[in-house]
Amino acid sequence: MAATIVRTGILYFLLIFAIRLMGKRQIGDMQPGELVITILISEIAAVPIQDLTQPVLTGIIAVFTLTFLEIAVSVLTMKVLPLRRFFYGDSAIIIKNGVLDQKMLRKLRVTGPDLIEVLRNQNIFDINDVAYAILETNGQLSVLLKPEKQPVTTETLLGDKPNGSFPGIVISDGRFINETFKEINTTQRDIEKILKQERLSVKNVFVMLCDDSLNYRIIRKDEKH
């Protein structure tokens, strides 16, 4: 019995250490990789607690290995975009200007009723009100309403037009995201022109957002906001 108590204590603190070391990368719900790690780690840690013939070290080694893999994958996916896609997938635009992308829905295995239900949960009862709906990699649906359907804000009361454009990420960590150009009807050349105006090189850009009207926002690397 004492062995169970001690092992439980060891593995408890080990798990706390491992989870703290991995950190919380995703804002909001877990990515698939994080879900896998969370389940695996808890299952592995339980084995030496329940089975006293199993050495504690096997659980410790497995937890350390999983922690290292999770952190290594997160570092690699930051640097290598195709790897990021492999592990975490891509966000997908499923509604554009009130029009459903049925091909994308089939690809994602999302049914119409599922989508309508999620929209209703966000108090949207008419697809025509939606400018953009994006299914994120964590399974959440992000919705941008058409300007005329957006709630009134101080800016709109003062005469500013509400924004109905979808700002795509065109540069991330110093690299162009070519897939976004098609979504926002622009080209790499247009973005390079903007960078030239701003006297920036693509390598100096941490994130650049741009919509189809070429309204952009650049966050330089190491810029503090």
């Binding site: 991995m22 050495p55 290594a72």
Partner: protein
Amino acid sequence: MKRFFVSFALMALVIILSIASEIYLGKLEEKLFEQLKSAETSYRQGDDSVTDELQDVYKTWENNTAYLSIFINHDTLDQISESFLRLVASANAVESDFNSSLYRLKYELYDMLETERLNWKSFI
């Protein structure tokens, strides 16, 4: 990146410990099998020292079980200890199953060591 380096350091430590364990197991395997071979030869020659030799092998084994229990399943270690005792008993028995006990013990030791070895068999 700090987290990465900490986890990398821990992983490196784990790998170093694995390699060290493998080297340790290799040396233990060599010693145990050498002693068992000597005991087997003594038994076949009808030498009276066979019991002492087997006791020495068992002592070598017992002296290492504390460290082995850190990374080997305890049931496996208990089973091998039992096989050692059976082998020692069979060396003195009138109707002896020394051979079967010996080969069984050798197999169990081999199996334990193979499981811990870094090769494709243990990976799959």
